[in-house]
């Protein structure tokens, strides 16, 4: 029985590993190589040592972008998980407790579908929608709600608030997914535990903090990882929504946007690769830290 093991393993893994070797490992090696060159994106190139890295260290735009990534990295998971937890709890446990049992509020199935809906919309479409929602004159959906004397909010055109607008959209799109994810996790918590706690006189709030939260911990960790990645990336939404790809005045600039601009707009593919290397190590550090925390659940099958 044990003899037939390796042919299966090799047969099963050869295609995915080959794809990874070419498209991921190979691509990374090439990115590292290009980061040491002055390649413009066309024609030949020269090796320039670590010039690109010196340049990006002194580049104020890069630091601005990093600050924005950090802003998203902290707020996106926090707000999204808090909202999703609240609504998942509402849908699953928040209803009337008849006979000691727990139920979701009325209409929780409808809520679940509504919350998940934004997840289905492509970012291209989300960009179109929120372009209208955040319209900077009275034709915009939000500004249109106010009387004519109202000085319209500028939203995406306002340096102070542009990134917050993008954060709001990121949350809007993500929340539903996590409501469903947490709901599924809560559904697998045995009813008896809630019943026992309710018998002992626990309130809804106690139930949440003493039972739901601890038992959902591993799911929360997964959510944190996913949202962290989304915060590190954020490229697609910034690309569609922001004024001038990262503007106004770099107020929505993120690292991934800088990579894209340098590679495909400014003809500085070498420099863009160096930024890619930075993003790679930043994400890997984040990944390593998170994996350390989630190791027990994640790796042992």
């Amino acid at each position: 029985m044990r003899h037939g093991k390796y042919p299966f393993i090799i047969g099963f893994l050869v295609v995915p590993l080959a794809l990874y070797l070419v498209f991921v490992v190979g691509a990374y090696l090439q990115m590292f190589q290009l980061s040491l060159t002055d390649w413009s994106g066309f024609g030949g190139f020269n090796y320039v040592g670590f010039d690109n890295f010196v340049k990006l260290w002194d580049d104020p735009v890069v630091w601005t972008a990093l600050r924005h990534n950090l802003f998203l990295l902290i707020l996106l998971p926090l707000v999204t998980i808090a909202l999703a937890l609240f609504f998942a709890f509402l849908l699953n446990v928040g209803g009337k407790s008849t006979g000691g049992g727990t139920r979701g509020v009325w209409g929780s199935k409808v809520y679940r579908i509504i919350f998940f809906f934004p997840q289905l919309l492509a970012l291209a479409i989300v960009g179109v929608i929120f372009g209208r929602v955040f319209g900077s004159d009275r034709s915009g959906m939000i500004n249109g709600l106010f009387p004519e004397s109202w000085t319209p909010w500028l939203f995406l055109a306002d340096e102070r608030w542009a990134l917050t607008c993008i954060l709001a959209v990121l949350i809007w799109q993500a929340v539903g997914f996590y409501v469903v994810l947490f709901s599924a996790g809560m559904g697998s918590i045995p009813e008896e535990i809630y019943e026992a706690a309710a018998l002992d006189g626990a309130t809804k709030i106690t139930l949440f903090f003493r039972i739901t939260l601890p038992l959902l911990w591993s799911t929360l960790q997964v959510a944190w990882v996913y949202l962290g990645i989304a915060a590190f990336d954020a490229f697609a939404l910034v690309n569609i929504m922001s004024v001038n790809q990262g503007g106004p005045n770099n107020s929505t600039q993120v690292l991934s946007m800088q990579i894209y601009l340098n590679a495909f707009k400014f003809s500085q593919a070498g420099y863009a690769s160096a930024l890619g290397v930075v993003l790679f190590f930043l994400t890997l550090t984040f990944a390593a830290l998170t994996l350390r925390v989630t190791r027990r659940d994640a790796v042992d099958a």
């Binding site: 290009l34 509402l90 809520y111 492509a122 034709s139 599924a184 990579i259 990944a287």
Partner: protein
């Protein structure tokens, strides 16, 4: 000891649920607040979607007006006709369908086999493979776009070829596919395999006759998620391919920038583009939740 700890709180707070005289007023208000919060939040979540929906049915005079209307006065299908007949729309639709179908199917086959290997065998390097798959999922793909563009360009798979972009999508979908299916397979008791093998099944037959059918819901959930991912992607295809070889999302984005004020047809295009995803989602709505948990929670 156990008896003491179990009964002590009950004495202090009389059992609320069992005696029926529980704090009714407080729960009623609590429920009211909860329901109100749910309704308000639902409106915030759903209103933009509703807005797109109604705009797509408004005639030009209405969608271009500065005074927003919340119910179209004179609903029309003109926007849909206009979007459908717009340059490159049909071509992008066909491209999108082909690329998505091939990528999802390939990722499913390759991913299922890889998940089997990872979930059912212990071998040297298994842990490393899981870590690599996970780590890759963690790195924003934009970092790899430059070298991948370069590679595919050398292989002449970009521009007017959709092969390159399909390959990239397969690579993109694989981590999630492997991860989720691994969870599903790990949830199938090994005793089933062993029982079948004692009854004379070969290892291959065990995979084909026992694990594959039992992974059914996982395969459905994974393929729907993969479909949504591939169908909704537009950055990569927009970077790799020429305008005649885009999918619908990239088409939509290009039209957004070039014809930015044509809200009506744009929204109609957005609706058409979203329909397949919504249909798939509603069809397998239940499985999606179980798919998520299998990938995420089961260790």
């Amino acid at each position: 000891m156990a008896v003491v700890t179990a009964t002590a709180p009950r004495r202090r707070k009389p059992n609320p649920a069992a005696d029926g005289t529980m704090t009714v007023g407080r729960t009623r208000t609590g429920n009211l607040v909860a329901n109100a919060a749910g309704v308000i939040f639902s409106i915030v979540m759903f209103f933009p979607v509703y807005w797109v929906l109604i705009t797509s049915f408004k005639p030009q005079t209405e969608w271009s007006s500065f005074d927003p209307t919340f119910i179209p006065d004179a609903p029309t299908l003109d926007n849909f006709k206009s979007a459908f007949n717009a340059p490159l729309f049909k071509q992008s639709l066909v491209n999108g369908i082909v690329i998505t179908a091939v990528a999802v199917l390939a990722a499913l086959v390759v991913g299922f086999l890889a998940a089997l290997a990872v979930a059912r065998f212990r071998f040297y390097g298994r842990r490393a493979i899981i870590l690599v798959v996970l780590a890759v999922q963690l790195v924003p793909f934009i970092a790899l776009l430059i070298p991948i563009f370069l590679m595919l360009q050398k292989a002449e798979l970009t521009g007017s070829s959709i092969v390159g972009v399909t390959l990239v999508y397969v690579v993109l979908l694989l981590p999630y596919t492997v991860w989720t299916l691994r969870g599903f397979i790990a949830g199938i008791p090994r005793e089933l395999d062993e029982a079948a093998m004692i009854d004379g099944c070969t290892r291959g037959q065990v995979f084909w006759r026992i694990i594959l059918p039992l992974t059914g819901p996982g395969l459905v959930a994974t393929s729907v998620y993969g479909f949504i991912q591939a169908w909704n992607e537009f950055i990569i295809i927009n970077t790799l391919n020429d305008p005649e070889h885009q999918n619908l999302m990239a088409w939509l984005m290009q039209n957004q920038t070039s014809r930015g004020t044509y809200w009506g047809p744009l929204m109609a295009g957005a609706i058409i583009t979203s329909i397949p995803v919504v249909i798939f989602f509603l069809a397998v709505q239940r499985n999606i939740a179980s798919g998520l948990t299998a990938g995420a929670v089961k260790g």
